[in-house]
């Protein structure tokens, strides 16, 4: 009897402890008391792994929150697929069929990365104790607001990329291979590809999802592993004059209670942000330079892009990251997303990109070769 009581006490005590343990809870920052630095501000420092299975936009037909059973089923299914792709490949396997194996994307169509190389996430993001099916929380349907008519027109060519006859990897946009400036920013090693360029800082669903925060009273730095981008946030400072434009915008920060609020403007206006579905349930926010003839860093379509980010430490090993995007040139109204950044012990490696960028040269050379062959025909 006594033993049984003890067991019950331990169980109940354990549950109580679990309830007290710092689960990431949005809007309840007061419940958790974060460690603080000498200036009294919460310590946001650490390395964070942004990889998650939760897509930017909610897939059609899904509820906003997954049940525990659904999470177990979906995460299990993903783990099985990853395990399948991580099997060692045989040295004796045949070459891919001529014309490719039908797969698309970064690997081209001759097969490429297996799971070993990729880090697309293995769990759904947990916010407020809920397993979320979208990062977007406003609009409440988890989908982005409609594009403005001008943006629809501008993005038409980019979003409707019909596959060319013989080469599904070829970009049919007129002039896409004419100049290095027409190639995607990731291909040029200017910014991370996929969703890795920011702000906002989004999961890349591919690899290189790490961010590191170093915090001082007047400067807070976010190091992005992909393309070694360092964002230096100037605390309680004014934005640069509007004619100074930066690839990742100009970020200034302030504390609102225990939340770091970072305001970013002055993006290169010839960049556009758009969302594209790369696979069912997998949407990426791409950042690209628009066509050469339209390039203008001051008056391009991205001139009014404004990103507001909110960082709150919600647990010993977690930040809640919430962002709002205002871009009247692109979306009909602002939209907001949130997800949890779990801390990680993984090291950040140097991502030297431009230094070995023989691909960009070869892509352009290949296009000139193609031009020469077309002229001959």
């Amino acid at each position: 009897m006594r033993r049984r009581l003890l067991l019950v006490t331990i169980l109940v005590g354990g549950l109580a402890l679990a309830a007290l343990s710092p689960a990431p809870i949005a809007g309840q920052g007061q419940a958790y008391s974060p460690p603080r630095l000498a200036d009294g501000q919460p310590d946001l420092q650490g390395t964070y792994d942004l990889a998650t299975l939760t897509p930017l936009e909610r897939p059609n037909g899904m509820n906003a929150v997954l049940s525990r059973e659904e999470v177990a089923k979906l995460e299990g299914a993903v783990a099985a697929v990853v395990a399948l792709g991580a099997r060692p490949s045989s040295g004796e396997r045949a070459a891919p069929p001529k014309g490719g194996d039908g797969s698309r994307g970064a690997a081209g169509n001759v097969g490429g990365y297996n799971s070993f190389w990729l880090d697309p996430g293995s769990t759904f993001t947990m916010v407020n104790g809920e397993a979320r099916t979208s990062i977007v929380v406003d609009p409440s349907d988890g989908r982005l607001p409609p594009l403005t008519p001008a943006a629809r027109q501008r993005l038409g060519a980019l979003l409707a990329r019909p596959s060319a006859e013989n080469d599904p990897g070829l970009d049919p946009t007129p002039g896409a291979y004419d100049d290095p400036e027409r190639r995607p920013l990731g291909e040029r090693c200017l910014l991370g590809f996929g969703s890795a360029a920011g702000p906002p800082a989004l999961p890349n669903y591919f690899y290189n999802n790490l961010r590191k925060i170093v915090q001082t009273p007047d400067r807070i730095v976010i190091l992005n592993e992909m393309v070694h981008d360092v964002r230096v946030i100037r605390m309680n400072a004014q934005h640069l004059p509007s004619h100074i434009r930066k690839w990742a915008g100009d970020s200034v920060g302030r504390w609102e209670g225990d939340t770091l609020v970072v305001d970013t403007t002055n993006f290169n206006a010839d960049q556009i942000r758009y969302v594209v579905a790369v696979a069912p349930g997998r949407t990426l926010m791409m950042v690209e330079s628009i066509g050469a003839e339209e390039q203008d860093r001051l008056s391009g379509p991205g001139k009014d892009l404004h990103v507001i980010e909110r960082f709150t430490r919600v647990g010993e090993k977690a930040l809640l990251y919430r962002f709002t995007i205002e871009d009247p040139g692109t979306w009909e109204r602002p939209w907001t997303g949130e997800f949890t950044w779990p801390a990680t012990d993984q090291p950040i490696y140097e991502y030297a990109c431009h230094e070995a960028n023989y691909a960009l040269e070869n892509i352009l050379r290949g296009a000139r070769q193609r031009d020469a062959e077309a002229t001959k025909r």
């Binding site: 400036e181 200017l190 590191k212 170093v214 140097e350 431009h354 031009d371």
Partner: protein, 288 residues
């Protein structure tokens, strides 16, 4: 009090005051003066936007001014090569007193040959021309500011040039798992001096525009000592048995940028070298 006693007393006071002044003015060896700000941990606070003010990026050794980095023989001495001729005085090399202790660089014989070839082929070989990551210690004395972000637990150095960055590990993670352009930096404190041990380099970066180079065996030990609010005394000891017969040292001052709005701006030079590196593959190449 007698006149004499008063005099003795005032002398004693003066001596005591002098002794106190001496105590204040002459810091104990290895301890930074009181004007140096400190973090809550008691360590000197290295935060700030810093920049070297010297000509070491042209040539780390003492050098007279010359007409250009890339030269050819003219009828009466050397003149700029045709490809940099249009730059005129802007392309000239400012003279410098050098930053190398003792000035001589102890190259192995073959390595000295390579250095001279590098210098003769500067336009095609210097990684700075292609906007490649600069390596260490070159990043420190390029003509761009860099920012040290130093918290109680972390230290990160962000360079304006090419957006280069070093995350200085304050806990040794063990040998560098892979070679890199900026190396693996491990920091520790020696009194009030930050000592950064940098290993895991590739052999692609240079020390300056004059072809001074290293191999992948490079090992750099840097010492950052903040000697006042506005100055860091910087030293780098270079060890590379594949290139040099012995280790050697460079030293210089790093100055704090004084502007109230001092900050790193964008210098993503990758975009500035696309015409140089890929321009010939445009559909309609520009004249070159």
């Amino acid at each position: 009090m007698s006149h004499l006693a008063a005099k003795v007393a005032s002398t004693l006071v003066a001596v005591a005051a002098g002794a106190m002044l001496a105590l204040i003015a002459v810091p104990v060896v290895g301890q930074a003066p009181a004007s140096v700000p400190r973090l809550a941990t008691g360590r000197p606070d290295l935060n700030g936007v810093w920049q070297a003010l010297n000509e070491a990026n042209f040539d780390i050794q003492m050098h007279a001014a010359r007409p250009a980095m890339a030269l050819r023989a003219g009828p009466h001495g050397q003149v700029p090569v045709a490809s940099v001729l249009a730059l005129g005085a802007v392309g000239a090399v400012p003279p410098g007193v050098g930053v190398v202790e003792g000035d001589a660089l102890p190259y192995l014989p073959d390595a000295l040959k390579t250095k001279r070839e590098n210098q003769a082929n500067w336009l095609t070989r210097d990684p700075e021309i292609k906007c490649y990551l600069p390596g260490v210690p070159r990043a420190t004395y390029m003509p761009y500011p860099f920012q040290i972000v130093h918290s109680e637990s972390s230290l990160l150095i962000a360079y304006e040039y090419a957006g280069a960055v070093r995350d200085v590990f304050m806990k040794d993670p063990g040998p560098a798992p892979v070679d890199s352009w900026m190396g693996q930096s491990v920091g520790r404190w020696d009194g009030d001096t930050l000592v950064v041990d940098v290993t895991g380099f590739n052999d692609q970066t240079w020390f300056d525009r004059s072809g001074n180079f290293h191999s992948d065996a490079l090992h750099v030990v840097e010492r950052y000592t903040r000697t006042s609010r506005d100055v860091i005394a910087y030293e780098a000891t270079i060890e590379d048995p594949k290139v040099f017969t012995r280790s050697w040292k460079m030293s210089m001052a790093l100055y704090r940028r004084q502007e109230s709005n001092a900050q790193l701006m964008d210098f993503k030079c990758v975009e500035f070298v696309e015409e140089l590196m890929f321009g010939q593959w445009r559909k309609n190449p520009l004249s070159r």
